[in-house]
Symmetry: C2
Subunit: 403 residues, 2 copies
Amino acid sequence: MSDAPKANAAVGQSGGPTGVINASLAGVIEEVCKHSEIKNLYGAVHAVEGIVKEQFIDLKNISINDLEGIASCSSSALGSSRDKPDEKYCHKIFEAFKKRNIRYFFYIGGNDSANTAHIVNLMAAEVGYEMRAFHIPKTIDNDLLVTDHCPGYGTAAKFVACALMGDDLDNRALPGVKIDVIMGRNAGFLTAAAALGKQRDDDGPHLIYMPEKSLTMEQFCADVDAVYKKHGRCVIAVSEGITDIDSETWTQKVVKTKEKDAHGNVQLSGTGALADFLSDQVKKTLKIKRVRADTFGYLQRSFVGFQSQVDVDEARACGREAVKFSLSEQSGSVAMKRTGEGNKYGVEIFCTELRNVAEGTKSMPAEYINKDGNGVTDAFIKYASPLTGELPKTYYLGNYPKV
Amino acid sequence: MSDAPKANAAVGQSGGPTGVINASLAGVIEEVCKHSEIKNLYGAVHAVEGIVKEQFIDLKNISINDLEGIASCSSSALGSSRDKPDEKYCHKIFEAFKKRNIRYFFYIGGNDSANTAHIVNLMAAEVGYEMRAFHIPKTIDNDLLVTDHCPGYGTAAKFVACALMGDDLDNRALPGVKIDVIMGRNAGFLTAAAALGKQRDDDGPHLIYMPEKSLTMEQFCADVDAVYKKHGRCVIAVSEGITDIDSETWTQKVVKTKEKDAHGNVQLSGTGALADFLSDQVKKTLKIKRVRADTFGYLQRSFVGFQSQVDVDEARACGREAVKFSLSEQSGSVAMKRTGEGNKYGVEIFCTELRNVAEGTKSMPAEYINKDGNGVTDAFIKYASPLTGELPKTYYLGNYPKV
């Protein structure tokens, strides 16, 4: 018998939904039901907002059909919140916990969520309230510290890879320049995933720009020009967070220019603004006629029916392990360590201190970006390929001899 | 033994690629191989461009692996073209055919492609060159005349439906207004497909705007306001082709305004322009804080690994039937007639005259659009549901009682 308190638990889902944050929730629910130490499991509706407003769902009584259903369904089944709790907010959370004898707190989210769990945990220690707080990682950006990769990334990466595979075939059929703007303001992992479906030397994306490397418009146009001259077409994946050499993002520059032009009448907070701007630059500078641009937007995190099974399994395991850790540890963030590559790919789940994850985020390591700053390396492909599961094979007939 | 000529055949894929235009090509290839009347099958590289430049692939010699591969892969495996042949261009096509003893012409595409086949066919008749021309339908817009529905629509509709299902769950998790701009300039079928995944009364999309009904900004904002007040959130599907009451599209209006504001410096040919504009309108008029907009763009026709199996099967059957028709008929366009609904859904493939398809396109019938012009009817759902195949079920926990 462990010395874990016999008490209630709460779980919440925070920040932007992903394709597998529900799998982590399912993991928490199923594991809690196996341990008599935890009596009730309160699901916080809309994350911390639900805690302070005391809006909970009794998760031990949801149907098994709903448990398996949410595990295979994208988005945050409990509802989410963008609130970033400060000390005062955390105090309210803590008060709500005391009121319901909640002594286990599982919070699924990014590094801000780790920080919330961390602060609540410190408060409990300060007043001598026995409580255990655990963070379960999720992001599509893959930017959390310590863990090898994040639940949520594999599914989003699969979407982006398949989008680019299709886009490249489309561009072969009707050649021109195609620009795709991909999520990830500070970390280029998701944009880099655009390369995961490449199967031939001349497959696109031919250029990939991540926020870790600054980019001048001159360089961008020169790169596009070179690819277009070689292949007669060019497919480009660009992070929404790419920056100019003055470190300002191109999106900021574009929005500012447009606002100024319109004397305040045009407010382009602009999901489509960067894509349209880059498209205009290529048209104007290189005089290429067929230039198209798409901004993938929320589909990258919300599309249903297209999960990476590896990602689902890992996310669910992270949820289960968080509960197991909570029976022997005081607090922590769940993280994954890779135990093998290729056919032997696997992960070991471990527990790290909350502050290790709360205190920052990570970017693409330099060895994953090519020396020209316009593509990824084999090291990145080796790193990310196991996370999406097998991708479809692409076919076209243009490589057959002409008769 | 039919009186079909013993000669060669040519096949091409025209216009925007779809998820299943390759399945139709595969159908043509496999069927041609069964009939000794047709000796060689020339695949025109980049459609009519390949014919006039005499760039062909010997399709009887592609590997069976490639045949099945392309059948399950989106885009146009032979390459496509946006050329719209006039009489002079058709004459060049005809000359290229005569040179290679091509007396069977299969052309996969929209109504312009039916027209090309029609003109070439008339020219052949005029000079007494025995030739047979057949059109095989494809569009994601579903706007071809005669046929019950078009190959290509079901797969695009499945993508749009799943995108909206995910978007609605995302919007439940983080409530606000979400606007999705969907392809289809003149026909609202694809935008209407946004409703196909709705599973509960309060599921989004709550508003659907198709180009068949004009829309004022006042009405748009009033509709959004009403939904937002009722549900605390609002998910909207809008066709890129929606028009104001003066019949001008809102996209045209937006682009013009922006060009004027910027004194010619801002050229928003703008894939994202309409979405950003609508988003701004809602923010300004209704003072709603969280408003997001996405433009789905080319993903709707190009995404890989997400075909509707019904669509694949029908597209392939249309390709096969075109070849069979060509052995007994002089010319025609392949079309589908629905033979049953629900579990008994099925189609019968028949042949109609080329000019019946070449001469125009169709829009959403009035009975598929609700009386307020902001949603679809049950009749539309009944019509379109069989075409996507079964959609994933969505799950969330917000409908459980709070404790």
